[in-house]
């Protein structure tokens, strides 16, 4: 393959220096075989501008650190191959989340807040007894829970959601999917009424307008449409009951 010279236009801003207005800075990078945006960004940092901020951890699409807007679309930079992109590549931080600097945003704090608000842990009165066998569970149930738990909290669904962009406290697909994970877990003792209080609201299941950017852009290919609809139908049933 003939190697191209790529131009990266990168969003620069330091919230601790608000007097410097945000701007786009461009860098040239010689493309290599199998190059990802991860490789390119590190090259830029190591050879061009050592102050540029971005987040990577696992660089293997497992940890969810590196989501950013690549040519406008939220994607994991670690698994975005440059060969699938045009010569001009624009990188911006994810919207909705608090800016830390340049391409780095605080998805961690956002998701921690979400976990707190949705009480994302197993609610049970039973105490653990190390001497007793584990409670049995149907394997299919375990797989279904895992299907929802696969979310890596990268924030792509939130960034791509029009509602989340204008409504600050909307939990988005990640939040609703999170609640679905606990709803199908037989170990969680919360009643339907409690779930309705948590998620039967504008911030939760009913805030979704069905634009499905989350479903189309989830890097983990979670079945978000079906999870959102599952929770919504559950809330419909509960709404008439409680």
């Amino acid at each position: 393959m003939s190697n191209r010279t790529l131009t990266f236009n990168i969003f620069r801003f330091d919230p601790y220096r608000p007097e410097v207005a945000p701007y786009m800075q461009s860098f040239s990078v010689e493309e290599l075989d199998g190059m990802t945006v991860f490789v390119a960004l590190n090259k830029i940092r190591e050879t061009e501008d050592t102050a540029i901020k971005f987040d990577f951890v696992c660089r293997a699409s497992i940890c969810g650190s590196c989501a950013m807007l690549i040519n406008g679309r939220p994607q994991l930079a670690c698994k975005t191959l440059t060969r699938n992109l045009p010569k001009k590549i624009t990188l911006m931080p994810l919207p909705v989340f608090k800016l830390i600097g340049d391409l780095s945003v605080d998805t961690g704090a956002w998701f921690r807040h979400l976990s707190l608000k949705t009480k994302s842990w197993i609610h049970t009165d039973k105490a653990f007894d190390p001497q007793v066998l584990e409670e049995r569970m149907d394997n299919q149930t375990a797989l279904d829970i895992y299907e929802a738990e696969r979310c890596i909290e990268c924030g792509c669904c939130i960034a791509s959601c029009a509602t989340a962009n204008i409504m600050e406290d909307f939990w988005g697909a990640a939040g609703i999917n999170r609640v679905a994970r606990f709803m199908i877990d037989p170990r969680d003792g919360r009643s339907g009424k409690e779930y309705f209080e948590v998620i039967g609201s504008e911030q939760g299941a009913f805030g979704c307008m069905g634009l499905m950017a989350c479903d189309d852009l989830c890097p983990m290919e979670l079945p978000l449409q079906m999870q959102l609809a599952f929770v919504r139908r559950k809330m419909l049933g509960l709404g008439f009951k409680v």
């Binding site: 050592t50 951890v57 698994k79 961690g108 066998l133 584990e134 409670e135 375990a142 969680d188």
Partner: protein
Amino acid sequence: MNSNNTHITDVLIIGAGLAGERVAIEVANHGLKSIILSLIPPRRSHSTAAQGGMQAALGNCAMGQGDSPDIHFQDTVKGSDWGCDQEVARLFCDTAPSAVRQMSHWGVPWNRVVAGKKRLSTGQVVNDDPEYDGLISARDFGGTAKWRTCFTADGTGHTLQYTMDSLVIKLGITMHDRMEAVRLIHDGDHCMGAIVRCLRTGELHTYLAKSTVLATGGYGRLYGASTNAIINEGSGMSLALETGIVPLGNMEAVQFHPTGMVPVWILITEGARGDGGYLLDKNRHRFMPDYEPGKKELASRDVVARRMMQHIRQGYGVDSAYGQHLWLDIRHLGEKHINTNLREIANICRSFAGIDPAKDLIPVRPTQHYSMGGVRTNIDGAAYGLKGLFACGEAACWDLHGFNRLGGNSLAETIVAGLIIGKKIAEYTSGAAQKYTYQIIKDHHANIDQKIKDLISGKDGQENVYALRDQMEQNLMEYVGIFRTAAELQKAVDNLKDIYYRSLKIGLRSDGSGANPELSFALRFPGMVRLALCIAYGALERTESRGSHYREDYPRRDDQNWLNRTLAYWPAGADLPELKYEPVKITEIQPDDRGYGEASVRS
């Protein structure tokens, strides 16, 4: 020094992976306060990347019938090539089953036994007893006599970490993420906490605690080709080593995972071979049965990795632009199995190599994967040398793994050690007092402050930290890899010494203001070179082969002279570690043949 940036707590936990969070939960259950520091949001920790599973002798699935902690213990000791502490291994194996059940109680969706007959990829037909239906199942992993590795599809580490973190949130444990500990505060006798740099603002903070726990994971990123996350730079080990008092244990014991994908070095989990994958050479020949007729692809990791390199050296490697490699073949497992149980592998192959493992072969080569060595602790997790300092998980040399770790034992270690050591920390902390003087804090603070100023001003020199890192990586890759010789190790030690001196003369390219990433790295780097020197020098001095440490000039295990553990100290102002040795505790099984790998000498 800013007094607003001072935080006082009972237990300071550095690292929010599985080990750190498990300690925090245990400590909280004892009514103590703790603060967890993490470089990144906790759910992004490298623990989440462990796809394969966690070993615990439950014996629920058909192929695990008859399993017991005794057999787990034997596998672990053999795997370690008799380098582990048998008292620790025993405690670990006995505790692992209840630790797995506890994680189930907290919410991990472990895969469960499904009763009925099924045909394995080997052709063998097994029957899962209805009596065990719905209990936690297990899969096959290298170096184990029974199927013992509990798992959740392809995301065991992920579900464990998410469940553990959900508990941390539920218990209201304080979490300060994007914080990097840059120096331990101590007076040569007691550890009192740490000086910490905020990765949001670049400000320095002071954390004071009765106990400090290092749970920072491994040092994989010292090597150029590693399966580890880019944050795994051995920072906890560096902090401990820098004290000059706390030793690191067995730093020369570096595990290479047989199947890192070429050329991005992302891990293809052992589950691929556990579920029946083959290794093929350039002639598409399945070569592992030729070397290891018993365990084939599922001998312990050190053995498989060496057999692969041996096969490549004999001219059977596949040529590529990134050097020679071999093939991993999982096509015969079927599309359905690959896309559910091994989905993560399928995704990685598609995204990073553009191949479909249901149809194509996966290019693999042994890749740096795990650090058996680390901060040397006793069985209670207490570091040698400083009171109030503990270590746990991959950052520690507790010493469960000796010279080679079994797949599935690291994930298990984080949780089991977190539980056991957490309890011991709680006991210690309950009886301890906050102990610090203003002067000591001020001195440690000033030390870091000065370093930062010097790096920014370029007063000590203008060395480029990234260029130095490339050289360090190169030296470790070329001279301190799978096959080692005195001549090459000597070369590595000499070169690394030179790199170390140059690392003390780093000057920044940028202005270093705020949470500048170059400054963060420059602060960390000299410590990384010190670790590299501990690895290379330890390997040079150990004139035998044991577990993953393989000396071509000393190809046999030598129990007469080397049935011991290396302790590396870094005295102030030194340019090489000072090595001491301590005996390995043998309580149950005397050194013997492992049953796989190159035969050892019996002493």
